[in-house]
Symmetry: C2
Subunit: 426 residues, 2 copies
Amino acid sequence: MLLIHNIGELVVVPPGPIAGGAMRTVGTIQGAAVLIDGDKIAWFGPESELDLPPDCDVLDAQGGCVTPGLIDCHTHTVFAGTREDEFVRRIQGASYAQIAEAGGGIKVTVEAVRAATCEELIDLAAPRLSRMLENGVTTVEVKSGYGLTVDDEIKMLQVARRLDEVHPVEVVSTYLAAHTTPREFEGRTDEYLDAVLDEAVLARIRDEHLAEFCDVFCEHAVFDVEQARRVLTAAAKHGLKPRIHADQITQMGATVLAGEVGAVSADHLEVVDDAGIAAMKEAGTVAVLLPGCSFFLGVGQAPARQLLDADLPVALATDYNPGSSMVSSLPLVMSIACTQMGMTPTEAIIAATANAAVAVNRQDRVGAIAVGMQADLVVLDVPNHLRWCYEPGRNCVRAVIKAGLEVAISERSAGQLVRAHAATEE
Amino acid sequence: MLLIHNIGELVVVPPGPIAGGAMRTVGTIQGAAVLIDGDKIAWFGPESELDLPPDCDVLDAQGGCVTPGLIDCHTHTVFAGTREDEFVRRIQGASYAQIAEAGGGIKVTVEAVRAATCEELIDLAAPRLSRMLENGVTTVEVKSGYGLTVDDEIKMLQVARRLDEVHPVEVVSTYLAAHTTPREFEGRTDEYLDAVLDEAVLARIRDEHLAEFCDVFCEHAVFDVEQARRVLTAAAKHGLKPRIHADQITQMGATVLAGEVGAVSADHLEVVDDAGIAAMKEAGTVAVLLPGCSFFLGVGQAPARQLLDADLPVALATDYNPGSSMVSSLPLVMSIACTQMGMTPTEAIIAATANAAVAVNRQDRVGAIAVGMQADLVVLDVPNHLRWCYEPGRNCVRAVIKAGLEVAISERSAGQLVRAHAATEE
């Protein structure tokens, strides 16, 4: 067994979904301890009430705050190539269309991913996951969507599955072939969808456990509502749960669709309307906000307070990707949510744990401090959870526990993380 | 001698001040090397043209980008206590006045600083400097201004001087007794200024080398233009160079005053006007922008493009302080400048090196890559300088050289930095 003791503040986030007033406060225990048996939380409470078992490994939190491990529920972490030139061009005033005409945009990433082997993609993505882990993230959703052929999409999903196997971070896979229509199918979007929604393809994804979710980018000039409905409905027949990029730039009813198909999450929501909010609420859809994306693009943020005040369970994620959000730090995104969207630190932490767990359909296992939950925990350098959001850009993480194992954070350099704490023999 | 080789891109920032079109581009050398003799750059150029001296220590940049060490030219790094409660209250809509009435605001920090010993303040500030160093910052300006009695202001300056002696980061000290009028002098601001501008006090600061600069917070209900003029003029008689908090919230002519007194820098400038811009240009005053502050407060940014287009030398700094900018990462501030103010990565890097050097009156020694300049260098994990701003919140720093010595960045935990590279015996 593993004991974490000398905890300055244990942030007792309950399992999600959490909405409304329940997001504004969170229970805390000062002077706490957590006892871990195998991969699960066996006990937590005031250290004075601890009944210490014999032969317990001990981790001293040194008065730091302990929270559930963060969950990044919307990322595109598997990619090749970077697009800093495009970043500069956009700052200088180039439009999306001008960048695309000059050979930039998503097709740069698609070409790089198609040209890369599985091994190359793993070598690129593993250090990114390590940096996320160093920032306290223990579960990461990863989408395909840069292959845009059946084979290359499957390759991306295989990479995500392999990363889940070899990396301490738990990877949740999403099939996002409907990210955009590739060059080869220009003007023939429905034919592209025929290919990537082929029954045999979807059956393979299901049978080989390559993805749990299906996603679609529902946006003007990308996929319309009827196409998005077709994507999510076809995938759902093969057990892939629906989620959707909705209401980012154009209000076209995507979030209403999210409600209609019972999407687990609707993500972005910069231009969400009342009908969309009502539909999400009716369906129990999680509102996933991506403030790092708006920050990176220098555009307006989603109306977080409106969504919170509507009692929707709100989650936060990085949207980490080379085009619109090279922000891989979920704690920084939490700070952006506080300073740019009016979310409180408590709301931000619940949004990045309990509610993000719902957005990856793992609320029964992660994202909360409760007996029997998986022991995914973050030990901070700071004495309370408010401080984490209060210091934007500082990595406040002292130690990370994933499924009861301490993951070493001894070197900043990525890729060198190891599970330092051997599984307990009992 | 020390050789840094295998440099993917050497960013040859020239000495400041740099303005206008010269900020938009920077010379780079691919496949470069830098030779360091003692604390100075002895040679740089394409590695193919290197004439390698015997008995040279070697640092392999592994294809990474190398830039001048960053200079954070406006900070309040010496402080005690934190104000996360106030951060939350402000997010929830409390005004500055409401926070002050509830016992919050700067007086919380003033009380904590007054209660702290020199040793306590050093123990608090040293890890902050270490985190800055880990992010590539080799020179930091630090202001007093939380003591607000002669003795406590002197204590803060002594702490800054001591930090300069014991910490690898070079600390530049600024006397900011005119930060606000303390409680004891409420309604008697001129009497407070009598005390802190006393000839004997200023002479002591000069004689004991406690500060190089004098600063004043010129703002509505703080210090007006005539009071600010009095502060800066009195200090200048004792050799303290003027700088000024100007045009942050209220346009009251503070930047015009900056020009009139020949201020080295005018800082903030969120509400700068044309007269202020003209005055700065006439006087050669550096425009120091603090985007982390506006980001942290969730308010509008300074008009960076207007200042750049007026051919002013623009610098960037963190304004690191517990009330309005708990952002200690200058690279994050550079990213904020790119995404929120329309500055390009090249402009941001010049603003945080060559022009920041001018703002701390060290342009003859630091902030540039040139033969004879002090060897303050950053080795990045990324192959070009655009990537540094393109990945907000990622620490891209692989190694830091301060005055020719490699500073170990082996542990994330602050306070453990040592000068690992012993001085070369020749």
